[in-house]
Structure formats: C-alpha cells, structure tokens
C-alpha cells in the first residue's frame, strides 16, 4: 500500500530575514581540535522563531562576515540555540576565537527539515559522517522525545579518528537511556581504539533495519553521502525514503542572491534537506 510520503517541511519564517538578531554566547565548547559548539541566547530579549531539525541559521561575526551553520540543538530549548562549527575559513576562524559573553548576529531559521514528526511508526536509519552529525542531532532529539512513536532507531556515525568523535558523552547517554542502536566507526584508528575502523558506508550493509519501512537520513561530505546512498539502495531502500542534506555557497539564505543554486533548486529554500529522488538526476554530477 502506498504511503503518503512527505517532502521535507519548512517551519518558522523569520520576522525580517535580512537583518541579524543579536545573540550572546553563553558557552563555547571545544568539541575537537578544530570543531566547537556555541551555545547562544537572545541578547536583547528578541529571539528567533522555533526551528525544525535540519534547518540552519546565518551567523554573523561583527565586521567579518556571515556563514550558514546548521542548528544542532534541541528545538525544545528555543530561543536558546546551539551551533557546532568547524573552522574552515575566515568567518569560522573569527567565530572560533569568540568567548563567552561575546555577541554575534543570527538570522533564521531557514530551509527545510528532516521529516521526523511526519513519519510515526517507521524505523529510522541515521547515517552521519564527520560534522554531518550536527544537523542530525535535532532529529535525534525529536525521535527520542517521542520514542514510543517509532520502531527501530539506528545511528551509524563515522568520524575521522577517535579524537574527532562529536558529542561523545551524549552518544553514550543515548545508548544507555533510549532504545537506540549506535554504531561508531573511524576512518583511522588510534592506539587504544577497539571499535570499528573503516568508512561509515561499510556499516550500512549489515545495519539492523527493515528497508521496506525505514526512513534514512544521511548527512556528511557529498562523496560519503553518495556511497552511503548506494549502500542503502543495495539494501533495497527506495529513493523517496532517503533524505540528505546538501551544501553550497550561501550569501542571503532567502533565495535572492542565487549563490546556493543546485540545478533547479535553491539549497537555502528547497533544501538543505532534500528527498533524494528530487535531486537524484543531478546528484554526483561534476561541477553542478
């Protein structure tokens, strides 16, 4: 019987989406040598609308610039926000030097969400690579908040090395507290690491999920997502149940500047979360 499968949802249009809202840094957490999490609260009593898992904000560092960063907190903690970021350029480097008490500008939330609330009764398979776990964390929070609504929940997470594993303590807590299967693998081991070594895509083949009743949420570098999706298809997953999160250069986040175009889609408003069949024809094409 065919199910009405939802496309990713949009939630929370910002009041004036072009103007940043000041937020104070409540805490800076160093996750790994190049990745950190900012915990933010509105600085002037004005917060942003609640967000859906998978959405992103544009974070503005005074005088330096703006970058799109996925929201990685629990939507229930709004207007508080968390963003896990990697230092990859000028703005993120400046952001990484900020301290508790500093104020940044935040615009958002923008984009589409992981289809969690709309799919009760399903198995969920989450495949995360590297910092790709950050935009998936809100989806995990949402799944756990209503755990009884879903069947099997499996998280496959690949990190570069053991010291690059994000949210370690939280993963342990989830493993213990909720009925959640978590398998972690690293691309390269280190002495003392007695877990999986190898790319996360190799875990898909034997992951315990029912391909006829599973929603797959995939996030990570594009090459990793490509191979992960191939493995999912080998297991019999159809493309309308596979969702991924795409990334491109962004300037405005509201569909005006044209930078984030990916084929006929604007990643800022048609994405970043896409149902795979929507972009299947251009996915993996060079220089699109």
């Amino acid at each position: 019987m065919a199910h009405m499968l939802e496309m990713p949802t949009i939630s929370g249009l910002a009041a004036d989406p072009m103007v940043p809202v000041p937020h104070r840094i409540e805490r800076v957490k160093r996750e790994t040598h190049d990745t950190f999490t900012l915990e933010l609260m509105p600085a002037n009593g004005i917060g942003l609308p609640s967000f859906g898992p998978g959405q992103f904000n544009m974070l503005y560092v005074f005088g330096v610039g703006e970058v799109p960063i996925s929201i990685s907190s629990d939507p229930r903690h709004c207007p508080g926000l968390e963003h896990t970021t990697r230092v990859v350029g000028t703005v993120t480097k400046a952001m990484g030097a900020l301290k508790r008490g500093d104020v940044i500008g935040v615009r958002g939330p923008f984009g589409t969400s992981w289809p969690v609330a709309e799919e009760p009764g399903r198995d969920f398979l989450i495949v995360a690579g590297g910092i790709g776990l950050a935009p998936l964390r809100p989806a995990l929070y949402q799944l756990m908040k209503n755990r009884e609504k879903y069947r099997k929940i499996v998280l496959l997470y690949g990190a570069r090395a053991p010291e690059d594993i994000l949210y370690r303590h939280e993963l342990e807590r989830w493993r213990g507290k909720f009925d959640l299967e978590i398998q972690v693998t690293v691309d390269r081991g280190s002495s003392g690491w007695r877990g999986n070594v190898g790319v996360v895509t190799t875990l898909v083949g034997r992951a315990p999920f029912d391909p006829t009743n599973t929603m797959a949420l995939v996030c990570g570098p594009e090459v990793m997502m490509r191979f992960a999706i191939m493995e999912l298809q080998k297991r019999g997953m159809t493309t309308e149940r596979v969702f991924l999160s795409m990334e491109r250069n962004m300037k405005c986040a509201v569909g005006f500047c044209g930078h984030c175009q990916y084929g006929p889609t604007f990643i800022c408003k048609d994405g970043p979360v896409f149902r795979f069949d929507r972009i299947q024809s251009i996915f993996g094409r060079a220089e699109i």
């Binding site: 249009l13 005088g63 044209g258 024809s281 094409r285």
Partner: protein, 381 residues
C-alpha cells in the same frame, strides 16, 4: 481632448507634446529615467527633458558589436536596447542592507534604508516589461520579499514603447515577449513618422496612466492610427535577425549536461561576466561586510555578482564550478531551463544584449540551435 481619462483607451499625442507628457509625469512626483547617450552608447539615466533623449539616433548591433549612427528622421525612440537594463534602478548595483554598531558589549543593528524616490521609466520595450515581470517573481513572488525591490517597484510609473525596428541581435518574437507591449505598463507609445507628421499612438494601461494622459494634449485615435501601429509591429516582427526554438528547451538542456558543445563555447568564453551585467533578468548578488577604522561600526552591502566568477560557488576551500565550461553551462542552463522549474517560465526575454556585449560574440540562440541540431539534424546545410 484634454481632460478625458478613459482607461485602456487608445489616443494620439503629437511629437511636440512629448515634453508635456514628461512634465505631467514629473508633476506627479516622479523622477524620470530613460534612454540617453553616454560614451557612445544609449544607456538609461535621469532625464531632465526630451532633449536628453537620443532623438535621431539609432544603434547597429550584432554579435560583439555596437555602434550608434544617425537616422534619416528625428525619431525619439528609433533604436533598441543598450548595455543598461531597468534592473539597475529596481535592484541597485550597490545597496546598503544595514549598519551595525558595537557598543556596551552588544550589537545594535540599524536597517534604515531611506525611502527610494518614485521612479518613472520612459521608453520600456516589451521585452523589458517581461524582464521586469520575471524579476517580480524572483523578488516578490516567493516566501520572502525583497523590500528594497518592492518599494521601488510599487512606486513605478512605466511608459512603454513599441519598437519601430528590430535590433540586430533581437529575438523577442520567437521568445513570445514582443515586439508589442501587451501589459505591465501605465502608458504604451508607438512612434509614427509619416512624411511631415510625427506623433505617438498611446495606449492607456492604468488609471494613473490615464490621469497623466489627461494632463497632456491628446486626441482619440482613429482607425488609421490603429493600422499604423499594426503595420509597425508587423514590420518589426519580420525584421528579427535570429530566433530561438523554445520547444522542449528545458528538457533539451537537461538531457545535455555533458554535450561537447559546452567545451566548444568554453574555449571562446572569457568568463568576463558582461552577459550577466547586461542581462535584464540576471539577479545574482553578493554581500560585503565592512568596518570603519574604529572597528566599532560595521556595514553590510549587497552588490551585483555574476555566476561567472571563480568565487561564486566557493565552498570548503574550493569552487564547485571551477572550469569556465561549468560556469557558462550554469548561466545558460539557469536562464533557459532551471529558471522554468524555479519560476514557471523561461528567464530569457530575447533582448539580445548578451550577444551584443559579449566580447567574443557568443550567441545564446546559436548555442541552443547547435545542441538541438546535434540531436536531430535538419535537412540541408
């Protein structure tokens, strides 16, 4: 009959009363913008009077070529389109989005763009009306509205002009965007020069257009005036030097992402971005964040950008579209194919500017033709 305002009626204005028309528009609080000659080209800028119009001039255009020459008559609008398009007034090339002050450990963001002046566009061609309609969809037709665009657009008065000749690179007929202006104007003029008589047939397109016409000496149009308009439109249509076959164009391009033609055009393309600057529907912008010397005041500016630049698709240390081929392909596929999926119609209006202003004369219609032909060659050379 001055004083009679009938919406959507057809009237005539003597050429000597064109200034009265402009004055009537100014009196309503509009700043006039229109064609004028600057540095050997007809561009769009402030008009103070009819004297600023390129009366008696025409343009000779072809791929990579543009030249102004004198006409035999004194037509006010006897040319086609130049390197400027009306987007420069609706989406200014540089625009400050907001200012930000750092004080008391916090940030204060001030977005106080001054209200833009009321613009009147004089001499908008049919293709340009369609281009404005396309930009309307981009900036006001989606979930978000560009307030600066909307403010300028809402206060706009448009005097359209039906082209009396086709430009050397024009192909509006095959794009279904002209040469006759059919909607989106307050007044539409067709310039008629017949021996000694020189007048405009005026079609009223809105209430305010009717009001303005009411302030200008005018007469009801006669059937011979309607006939003159039809003849002019027919003549212009027949003069089109090129055409683009838009049947299944979106699917054609979607099928041919790896066509060898892209390599061929890439070997010519300089990625100079001229086409995107002159195109009336290209809308891409970038943002620039600046601070002053004190470091306490920052500003964010929005500026025109082009998908032809190396930085346009920069992410994670490199550009997604690194090769000129990928960038040309992006521009053309966006304009003619993905635009359809995004906004419901083709993004090209057949104005020919990209062909004229390309330094190496790349012709978008020819590129489409080449790809189409390679799939099913038509008989004959």
């Amino acid at each position: 009959m001055a004083g009679e305002s009938a919406e959507h009626g057809i009237f005539t204005i003597d050429a000597k009363h064109l200034q009265d028309l402009l004055t009537a528009i100014s009196k309503k609080g509009y700043l006039l913008f229109g064609p004028t000659i600057r540095e050997g080209a007809i561009i769009y800028d402030r008009l103070n009077s009819v004297d600023d119009l390129p009366q008696g001039w025409t343009d000779e255009q072809n791929a990579g070529k543009y030249k102004l020459t004198r006409r035999q008559d004194y037509a006010f609008f006897g040319y086609n389109v130049g390197p400027h398009s009306w987007k420069k007034f609706l989406q200014p090339p540089e625009h400050r989005l907001w200012k930000c002050k750092r004080e008391n450990g916090g940030l204060q963001i001030i977005s106080d763009s001054p209200a833009p002046p009321k613009h009147a566009f004089i001499g908008v061609r049919s293709c340009e009306l369609r281009a404005i309609a396309l930009l309307d969809k981009v900036f006001t037709g989606g979930a978000y509205t560009d307030s600066e665009y909307k403010n300028r657009r809402d206060g706009l008065f448009i005097v359209a002009v039906n082209c009396g000749q086709a430009g050397g690179t024009c192909f509006c007929a095959s794009m279904n965007t002209g040469p006759k202006a059919t909607s989106g104007f307050d007044l539409a003029l067709t310039e008629v020069i017949d021996g000694e008589s020189h007048f405009f047939v005026v079609e009223v397109g809105s209430e305010i257009g009717a009001e303005v016409l009411g302030e200008t000496p005018h007469r009801a149009a006669k059937s011979k005036d309607h006939e003159a308009v039809n003849q002019i439109i027919a003549k212009t249509t027949s003069q089109m030097g090129r055409a683009m076959n838009t049947n299944g164009l979106k699917e054609l391009l979607y099928r041919n992402y790896e066509h060898p033609r892209w390599d061929l055009v890439a070997s010519r393309c300089l990625t100079c971005a001229n086409c995107t600057m002159v195109c009336p529907t290209c809308f891409c912008t970038t943002v620039e964040d600046t601070t002053d010397l004190t470091g306490e005041n920052a500003e964010r500016w929005r500026k025109w950008d082009s998908c032809f630049t190396m930085d346009f698709s920069y992410i994670h240390g490199g550009s997604v579209r690194a090769t000129p081929k990928s960038r040309y392909r992006q521009w053309m596929t966006h304009k003619l194919a993905t635009w359809v999926d995004q906004f419901g119609e083709i993004g090209c209006v057949g104005c020919g500017r990209c062909i004229t202003w390309c330094p190496v004369g790349i012709d978008i219609a020819e590129e489409v033709h080449a790809i189409r032909e390679s799939e099913s060659p038509t008989a004959g050379g």
